[in-house]
C-alpha cells in the first residue's frame, strides 16, 4: 500500500517538475513547482519524516514560492514569450542531462543491505539493523517522544554552532536583499 502511494506521488512530482521547466509563463512554472513540492512533502511523510514534510509545505511552498510569485507579479512577467534556447543548446542539454541521469540512477541499486555490507569492515553480509543503529534509535525516539523532538535534539545539541551560524546567514541575506532592492543606495 505504501509503495502504491509512493509511486503515485513520485509520478506527480516528476510530471509537475517536467511541466515546470517547459511552461512558457513563469507564473505557470511557479505553480507547477509548488505542485512538485507538495508531492515531495507527501513522500516525506511516507519516509517517516513528518516534521520535515510540514516544514516543506510551510517554508518552501509557503514562504519561498510566495516570494517568487511576488517578484513575477511585481515585474509583470505573467505572459512572456518563449525563452527556450536554440536547437544546438537543446541537443547539448539532452546529452548532458542524459549522462548525468545515468550516473545518478546508478544509486538506485543501493539497498539498505548493500549499504550495510559496503560500510562494514568485512565485505560479507551484514544485517542493516546492526549496521545502522542510529536510524533505529531515531525511529524509537520519534515513536516515544514525538517526531519534533527527534529532529530538535540533534539540532540543539550536536549542531548548535551551525544553527547559530545559520542565523547570521539569514541576517546577512536580509540586509543584502534590502540593500540590493533599494532604489538609491
Amino acid at each position: 500500500m505504501t509503495e502504491v502511494v509512493f509511486y503515485i506521488f513520485a509520478a506527480a512530482a516528476v510530471l509537475s517538475a517536467t511541466l515546470c521547466i517547459l511552461q512558457k509563463s513563469p507564473m505557470a512554472s511557479a505553480l507547477w513547482l509548488v505542485s512538485t513540492m507538495f508531492s515531495l512533502a507527501a513522500i516525506y511523510v511516507l519516509l517517516n519524516a513528518q516534521f520535515i514534510a510540514a516544514i516543506q509545505v510551510l517554508v518552501y511552498a509557503g514562504a519561498i514560492m510566495v516570494l517568487f510569485l511576488f517578484v513575477i507579479m511585481l515585474l509583470n512577467l505573467g505572459h512572456a514569450e518563449s525563452d527556450l534556447r536554440g536547437p544546438s543548446s537543446v541537443a547539448a542539454t539532452l546529452v548532458i542531462v542524459g549522462l548525468l541521469s545515468i550516473e545518478l540512477l546508478a544509486l538506485t541499486h543501493y539497498s539498505p543491505r548493500r549499504l550495510a555490507s559496503e560500510l562494514s569492515q568485512w565485505p560479507t553480509y551484514t544485517d542493516p539493523a546492526t549496521a545502522f543503529v542510529a536510524g533505529q534509535i531515531t525511529q524509537q525516539e520519534g515513536a516515544a517522544h514525538g517526531v519534533v523532538m527527534a529532529v530538535a535534539a540533534p539540532l540543539f545539541q550536536v549542531y548548535l554552532i551551525p544553527f547559530e551560524i545559520t542565523s547570521i546567514l539569514l541576517l546577512a541575506a536580509i540586509v543584502g536583499a534590502v540593500v540590493l532592492a533599494k532604489r538609491n543606495v
Binding site: A17, R85, S89, T108, A134, A150, P154, A173
Partner: protein, 98 residues
C-alpha cells in the same frame, strides 16, 4: 523503507532541474530550477536519514535555510537587473562578455 525508489526519484528531479537551468533563459525560471535541485537533494537526505539517524533531517533544515537566503538575495539581484535592462532574459545580460 523505499530507499532505492527515493534515490531514483531524487536523481530524476535533479536531472530535470539541470535541464531547466540549461534550457531556459528567464532568470526567475532558472532560480526555480535551482530550488528544484535543492529539493531533490533534500529527498536524498530524508531517504538516507532512515538509516543514519536524525542528522539527515538537520541537514535538510540547513539546506532550506540556505535556499531561503539564496532566493531572497537572488530575487533582489533580479529586481536590480530588471531596473537597468527592463528584462530578465539572460540573453540580454552580457556586460561581462568581452
Amino acid at each position: 523503507m523505499l530507499l532505492g525508489p527515493s534515490l531514483a526519484l531524487s536523481a530524476i528531479l535533479f536531472s530535470l532541474g539541470v535541464a531547466g537551468v540549461l534550457l531556459r533563459r528567464n532568470a526567475i525560471v532558472l532560480f526555480m530550477c535551482i530550488e528544484l535541485m535543492l529539493n531533490a537533494v533534500n529527498l536524498t537526505f530524508v531517504a538516507l536519514a532512515q538509516l543514519h539517524g536524525a542528522s539527515g533531517y538537520v541537514m535538510v533544515f540547513f539546506v532550506m535555510t540556505v535556499a531561503a537566503a539564496e532566493a531572497a538575495v537572488g530575487l533582489a539581484i533580479i529586481i536590480g537587473i530588471f531596473r537597468h535592462k527592463q528584462s530578465v532574459d539572460l540573453g540580454n545580460i552580457n556586460l561581462l562578455r568581452g
